[in-house]
């Protein structure tokens, strides 16, 4: 497997959807190509860092306010009867 082919398969590899044969070829490539190993490893870390970051969490007080605003508007909409929104 060449570096360009590794890159082409990287997303499928990280998502765990590669067929066994391609996965073995890719891991074989990673065992000797340090650059691709680093790209693979740091891309994986990138995903994990974002996934675990708790970026843009909705604070509970804002959450309650938004929910009650939503439900109030829904009920107003219901009273007005069917219409396009």
């Amino acid at each position: 497997m060449k570096c360009s082919e590794f890159l082409h398969e990287l997303t499928n590899y990280l998502d765990g959807v590669l067929d066994e044969k391609t996965k073995v070829e890719l891991e074989n490539h990673l065992s000797w190509c340090h650059n691709c190993y680093v790209v693979c490893d740091t891309t994986k870390k990138t995903i994990e860092i974002y996934r675990d970051s708790q970026l843009y969490e909705l604070p509970e007080d804002l959450r309650s306010r938004l929910r009650s605003a939503i439900m109030t508007k829904c009920q107003q909409q219901k009273r007005r009867g069917p219409q396009s929104v």
């Binding site: 891309t43 870390k45 974002y50 970026l55 843009y56 938004l66 605003a69 939503i70 219901k78």
Partner: protein, 219 residues
């Protein structure tokens, strides 16, 4: 917050049952759907709009639209995927209003395959996120993802942050599966490269951390 009860006293806990109850006019079932997904919609909206007030508006407008159009929801897809589609459209509309000089669409800035080939290979230090405080880290991550075109960051957020499948992401964004995969790869590689500035191994004697507040991750 437990599962809501239907008229027979049986817990209505799964999504489809909640949707069907809401369609019949049970607002507490709809409220439960709001509770279930409001945090996800907020996160997606803020990732796309990069603005807190806009994200709050998107949460309200997306749920209100879902409520008003519930009768049209066919139940062939998951409610959540349908809701995400509404929310993404609302968020993109906000972004267009805020940046009228540019046409914002999911197709913008989609260039050739080669534009995200890794240029920077340097390895990262082990546990790089631990070099920063929580608030510094959030600043870095937020600034870095803001630098991606909306079409890339939307795919990244749905797939990698919210955990939608490739097929669900494609359905929510009305894109093909290959288009989602291609954008996801480029989003991941671009983020990796931009984060490298903060996270890469530093030689001894050059251990100074990059200044979080003056980085150029927002290009």
């Amino acid at each position: 917050m437990g599962a809501i009860q239907n008229k027979l006293g049986t817990p209505v806990s799964d999504e489809l049952a909640l949707v069907q109850a809401a369609k019949k006019g049970d607002d507490s079932a709809f409220e439960e759907l709001v509770r279930r997904y409001d945090r996800n919609v907020f996160r997606i909206a803020q990732h796309i709009t990069q603005n807190r007030e806009d994200a709050e508006d998107v949460v309200q407008e997306a749920f209100l639209k879902a409520y008003g159009n519930l009768a049209q929801f066919q139940e062939q897809s998951k409610f959540y995927t349908w809701l995400v589609r509404i929310a993404v459209n609302e968020a993109l509309m906000k972004l267009r209003r805020r940046k009228p000089e540019r046409t914002v669409s999911l197709d913008e800035d989609i260039k050739t395959e080669d534009d995200s080939l890794p240029r920077e290979i340097a390895d990262w230090s082990p546990n790089p996120e631990q070099q920063y405080t929580q608030s510094e880290l959030r600043e870095i991550l937020s600034k870095t993802i803001q630098g991606l075109p909306p079409g890339f960051r939307t795919v990244f957020v749905l797939r990698d942050v919210e955990g939608l499948s490739t097929e669900e992401t494609a359905a929510a964004l009305e894109l093909s599966v290959p288009a989602v995969k291609s954008r996801l790869l480029r989003a991941r590689l671009q983020l990796r490269e931009r984060l490298g500035k903060y996270f890469q191994k530093r030689e001894s004697g050059n251990g100074k951390k990059p200044d979080v507040t003056s980085g150029d991750g927002n290009q």
